[in-house]
């Protein structure tokens, strides 16, 4: 039995088709990440699963039970919002306990559950504060705690870290991974941050304009992108695309385009001619931007390299790491 199953789910707003039909199954205990460019329908999909948005057609099953007609609170799910959405008039303890109280849970049990969640997230010293008296990271932890307290079958996160600064984001990411291991819960996580997607996910669902472009483990997506969109979306800096005949490699039948990641292309004595346009030195690696007849190509070189701008160079893609795409944009090999 799947923890979550979506069958041919569609959503239109007026005449705009936002989700033209999605099928997906998430296994129990899985950490599933939705990624995609802004406006591709990630939040809409998540909100339909939560019950905050009504699907135009299709079925949503949670734990094998069809939940289309159940209100959000009856679906045994919890959601963490991007803006945290804490109740400003309640203390941290009140925020954590409201759902259980509302469900009529005995007081002692509510308190125990709040305590348990608070200790998991190091919120104990803050229990009597109000949201206005907390930092952004603390608010985020309260929002996560509010989800944990309910012991849901399914956790939904909508870009929960995007309001945090980079350092805190990295820290919270690790904390979320730990939480996922400890709780063993099924989690669905929306982000447009690739690092979050790659590091947290058991499986990534890449969305493009409301369609599922590919579903797979992070390394599958990285090593075998099913189409040009996924290839270009996953990885940073993004993959270079060049016409097959300019690649210097022999393309397989039907391939018109080569995709090669910046880390799989090297400087050589002969190969694709190009000219250095810009060099970014990051210490542990150097990003070299070049231009030439084959178009703009980016290289990622390990360590420090001193390349003057305008220097002519030759580039050699690693044939073992080449991705070939047909005229329809799909992978061919």
């Amino acid at each position: 039995m799947h923890a979550l199953e979506i069958r041919n789910l569609r959503k239109t707003f007026g005449s705009v088709e936002v989700i033209p039909g999605a099928d997906l199954a998430v296994e129990p205990g899985e950490f599933c990440v939705f990624v995609g460019p802004s406006g591709c329908g990630k939040s809409t999909l998540l909100r339909m699963i939560a019950g905050l948005e009504e699907p135009t057609s299709g079925d949503i099953l949670i734990g094998g039970q069809r939940v289309n007609d159940l209100p959000p609170a009856k679906r045994e799910i919890a959601m963490v919002f991007q803006s945290y959405a804490l109740y400003p008039h309640l203390t941290v303890a009140g925020n954590l306990g409201l759902a259980l109280k509302q469900a009529g849970t005995p007081r002692a049990e509510v308190e125990a559950a709040v305590k348990r969640a608070a200790s998991m997230l190091a919120l104990e010293p803050l229990l009597q504060r109000r949201p206005a008296e907390l930092s952004g990271g603390q608010r985020q932890r309260v929002a996560i705690g509010r989800a944990i307290v309910r012991r849901p079958k399914l956790f939904l996160f909508d870009e929960p870290l995007s309001n945090l600064d980079a350092a805190l984001r990295g820290q919270t990411r690790i904390e979320l991974a730990r939480l996922h291991r400890e709780l063993g819960a099924t989690m669905i996580y929306v982000t447009h941050d690739q690092v979050e997607a790659m590091t947290l996910a058991d499986r990534i669902v890449v969305l493009n304009a409301g369609r599922i472009a590919q579903i797979g483990s992070p390394m599958e997506l990285y090593n075998r992108p099913a189409n040009r969109f996924v290839a270009g979306f996953i990885g940073s800096p993004s993959m270079n695309f060049l016409a097959a005949e300019r690649s210097g490699l022999t393309p397989p039948a039907g391939a018109v385009e080569l995709g090669i990641r910046p880390e799989h292309i090297a400087l050589a004595d002969h190969g694709i001619p190009a000219r250095v346009t810009h060099v970014e030195r990051l210490g542990h690696e150097t990003l070299v931007h070049t231009d030439g007849e084959a178009g703009h190509i980016t290289l990622r070189l390990v360590g420090e390299h001193d390349l003057p701008v305008d220097q002519p160079v030759h580039l050699r893609p690693d044939p073992a790491r080449a991705h070939w795409f047909g005229p329809d944009g799909n992978r061919c090999d």
Binding site: P71, F81, P88
Partner: protein
């Protein structure tokens, strides 16, 4: 002086405010300490509270004022909150129409409102008796504005009808400022419908309710126009609708056989000022500071 520019920029506002607000206020306070052109100290206040006829009129007016205020607090504000809650429901169709329709009486003149309701409720030409008759409730009708027992409450309800749009609008704005995500989080937590209103929305709009209460108080204790238009300066029947405003008006300007007495009038005005000032101060320092404004 380095800070001279502050005074320069403050000056226009201070001067205008002083000329049109502060000076008249002090002139009134001063007037209440004089009689027949001579300084008499607190003699006028002693008359107002000590003389049986003056004090009977004063306490009657103050009591009526209080009742007028209580009716507004118990009827106008709860109805305003209820209407706002209904208006903010996303399922309501035609919300803009209702909002406008309910708010329109607020911009009507007191004269129009007072006159219309006098006509509606008139036992002779009014449409109220006929309408009650049409639904078989004629026995319920009585000339409410003409009876000592009901005239004040009737006037208060007319005022409620006219001004219910103001609390409605203020609460409506406060409700709209609650972020959708907070309500969605409540939805996920199972806090829906009325329980969502009581547990989430109401606590978040409490500061607005506080403001509305104090506005209602100041408005009611300064009320005058509606009573004057509907019942005249004598605030009949038998002074049963007399409030501090009409009492002050008769005293200061005189009415029919009563001669105007600016000194006693100023005394009443000073007492009114004192009452409103005291309540507003209690509100500002004891209540408002405890109401939290929430940042979302």
């Amino acid at each position: 002086m380095k800070r001279a520019h502050i005074l320069v920029f403050l000056a226009p506002a201070v001067i205008v405010y002083t000329v049109i607000m502060v000076l008249p206020l002090f002139a009134t306070l001063q007037l209440s300490l004089f009689r027949d052109g001579g300084f008499v100290g607190l003699q006028n206040f002693r008359t107002l509270f000590g003389d049986t006829r003056w004090s009977a009129s004063f306490w009657n007016a103050l009591g009526n004022n209080l009742w007028f205020f209580i009716v507004h607090m118990l009827v106008q504000n709860p109805i305003g909150i209820l209407l706002a809650a209904l208006l903010s429901s996303p399922r309501l169709r035609g919300a803009a129409f209702y909002r406008t329709a309910i708010f329109v009486p607020t911009i009507l003149s007191f004269v129009v409102v007072g006159f219309i309701w006098k006509l509606i409720l008139s036992p002779i030409w009014g449409i109220a008796p006929g309408m009650l008759d049409a639904v078989g409730l004629k026995s319920l009708f009585s000339p409410w504005l003409g009876k000592e027992g009901s005239a004040l409450t009737t006037l208060a309800l007319i005022s409620v009808w006219q001004f219910v749009g103001i609390p409605m609008m203020l609460i409506y704005a406060a409700l709209l400022s609650i972020p959708d995500e907070v309500l969605e989080a409540a939805e996920m937590d199972g806090v829906t419908g009325w329980s969502q209103f009581w547990k989430i929305k109401l606590p978040l709009i409490l500061p607005s309710i506080g403001i509305i209460s104090i506005l209602t108080f100041v408005g009611n204790f300064n009320a005058f126009d509606l009573i004057y238009v509907a019942q005249g300066a004598l605030a009949g029947p038998n002074f049963s609708t007399d409030i501090l405003g009409t009492f002050f008006y008769r005293t200061f300007f005189g009415f029919q056989l009563q001669l105007g007495d600016p000194n006693m009038g100023a005394t009443i005005a000073t007492v009114m000022f004192g009452i409103i000032l005291a309540v507003v101060c209690v509100y500002l320092f004891a209540i408002q500071t405890r109401l939290r404004r929430y940042q979302f």
